[in-house]
């Protein structure tokens, strides 16, 4: 039984009035909030501004215009350089200020005074490589860096570098060692310009010994093989090294097929490894044709297709199989050798009637009783 209730708004008010009423109340609360908040703010204590826990980067795009005047123009550089012959080394591509780091402005990283008229004043306090002078500037944004670059299978000691920078420990490895001209057209993120492997090799070679970079307490790295720096997906190190198959220092996909235990003839040489093998450890393949190919004549022939088919040729190029026909056809070889298998086995490769008239019709001038062609032919 439904009970009737008294109504504050009276019977004359329509029920739907609660909707605009609710919306109006919400609006009223918002307006009230906007009015009250400044009062609350004014009444609250105002402590000193919080102390940043990280250093402050002063973005300097607007105050770096003076740098562009000289460093975007070779004539201007030559005019002001002490040695005009090397002025080109200080030329900056104008497009580089459009990159993420370039857009921070020259003085954000190189300090100096981008608004000074005088060259000496402009270069006062100049920092050539901020990653060496103030490496913490990099890890403000670039933290949690990957330990492995996926596409290159490359192990990177980012954790060690980041730890040392964050804890103020001395390091001989700086961000710029690998990420060189960042802000000047080098874009390791997009990969448009990526340092090649030779940069790593050259640096390690230059250092001469492990202790060139690694402290005595740290594990040294001897560049004895690819797997020192690269951690590939294959767990085959017991019986293969990277260089058994991979022949390029630029791309993992360049493979030397000559090391393959079975010669890869014909179209086999054009296949990608994992079109036949299982990724990542090359398992599940026994070098039998039937592993990959389905017989076009099931029920006839074994798994080893090369008994008849030439792996270097097409499937239609079939080598002679007369050895299997000796009992029946030995006397008929001759022109039959030029006939393709399907010339006789047109209904499949099951046993066929060896009589001549299975394929040949009797000429009209021959007596019908002559059935043994081979007596004359």
């Amino acid at each position: 039984m439904k009970r009737k209730q008294k109504r504050f708004l009276g019977r004359d008010w329509p029920h739907w009035i609660v909707i605009p009423f609710g919306i109006g109340l919400a609006g009223f609360v918002v307006v009230l909030g906007l009015l009250v908040e400044p009062v609350g703010h004014a009444l609250s204590p105002s402590p000193a501004p919080p102390t940043p826990t990280l250093p402050v980067v002063e973005y300097g795009r607007d105050i770096s215009e003076g740098c562009h005047d000289c460093h975007f123009s070779l004539p201007a550089l030559e005019a002001s350089a002490n040695d005009p012959t090397i002025a080109g080394e200080y030329l900056i591509e104008p497009e580089s200020v459009q990159t993420k780091h370039g857009s921070l402005g020259c003085v954000a990283c190189h300090r100096g005074d981008g608004e000074a008229e005088d060259k000496e004043m402009a270069h006062a306090g100049l920092v050539l490589d901020i990653t060496e002078e103030e490496p913490r500037m990099c890890v403000i944004c670039h933290h949690d860096l990957p330990e492995k670059i996926g596409e290159d299978e490359l192990l990177i000691p980012h954790d060690l570098v980041e730890y040392k920078i964050s804890h103020g420990e001395e390091s001989t490895l700086f961000c710029s060692d690998c990420h060189g001209r960042v802000g000047h057209g080098f874009d390791p993120v997009s990969g448009r310009v990526a340092c090649t492997m030779m940069v790593c090799v050259d640096c390690h070679t230059e250092q001469g010994s492990c202790q060139g970079c690694h402290q005595a307490s740290e594990p040294g790295v001897e560049m004895t093989g690819c797997d020192v720096c690269h951690q590939g997906p294959h767990d085959v190190t017991d019986y293969l090294t990277c260089s058994c198959c991979h022949i390029s220092m630029e791309s993992w996909s360049e493979i030397d097929a000559s090391s393959h235990p079975v010669e890869l003839e014909g179209a086999h040489g054009e296949l990608h490894c994992f079109q036949c093998h299982s990724f990542p450890d090359f398992e599940g393949l026994h070098y039998v044709c039937a592993d990959c190919h389905q017989s076009g004549h099931p029920g006839w022939g074994g798994e080893d297709c090369i008994e008849c088919h030439d792996p270097a040729a097409t499937w239609n190029d079939v080598i002679s199989t007369w050895d299997q026909h000796v009992e029946i056809w030995d006397m008929y070889k001759g022109d039959h050798r030029d006939v393709e298998c399907r010339g006789c086995h047109f209904d499949g490769f099951d046993e066929i009637d060896p009589s001549c008239d299975s394929c040949h019709s009797l000429p009209e001038d021959h007596d019908a009783s002559y059935t043994k062609c081979w007596l004359c032919h």
């Binding site: 209730q5 008294k6 029920h15 009423f21 919400a26 609350g40 609250s44 919080p50």
Partner: protein, 318 residues
Amino acid sequence: MAEHHWGWLIAIYLFLGGMGAGSFLIASVFELSGLRYKYDFCPTSLAGAGVSGPLILIGTVLLIFDLGAGMREPWRIPLMFLNFSSVMTWGIWILSLFLPLCFIYAALELMHVEPGILAWLRDRQKILPKLLRLVPETLPYRRLKLFVCSAGCLFAVGTAVYTGVLLAVVEAVPFWNSPVLPVLFLVSAISTGMGLSFDLAATMAVPDLHDRYGKMPIVHMSLIGLEVALLALLMILALVKGGEAMESARMILTGSQSVVFWVLVIGLGMVYPFAFHAYAYTRHKHSFVPSLLAGAGVVVAGLFVRYLVVASAIPLTL
């Protein structure tokens, strides 16, 4: 006023979005549980269903005003539907699907309460060709609302949680970057939705509304208690985290936002409503004006919780 990472527009959007979602949830609970049919008129259902759509729509418009680039080049807005790795895209999809449900629910509830609307529509369709006269004589309101409410509840929870996730994923602001925020915003959304559609709008229409639902103070107290616990957890985690997160928490607790926090959020929005509902529950008596004030306090707290969270953001210093 202090210079904020995001301003009042975003705080109001978060507030209206949350309260709209909360109102929908409260109305849906009344509908799905059958409470809506206990009396000849249920103002909570009508208010909850009716305000949710407009509130969320107004909030969304404010969001567009805050977009900046989107205001100058509105053709970029559709692109925001396609960046599925962004929480904002999730939110846009949730809002886009939820808003129509809100308005459908509002229309169904309104026509259910005021049958004259359907008759009026039928009357007006006579000017149309016969084939286009689609307005039926009556509608299976309960069955239709069962479907709309069930689906809408999922999106309402999604909307309320998303407003918190939107901030919680911002790693550059350590105070926001907390898993507590989405839960706090969900609870606050339900609380403010209840405050608006039950304590304010519905109580204005039916002053003895609280007498109908004797257990409702327990729901109120549970929500307020949970909100206080989540706020405390948010602050403790920020203080423990240190750095900018701690500075943000200090700004709210003892700094430039402390009066707003302690007076408007804790005092008016938590302590007073909790005490009022505890008193009302033990004495089985709800006074009209204090009841309205309790509802207003909860709603005001909902606004300022979001404002404080937005305003006290201190980004990692670069």
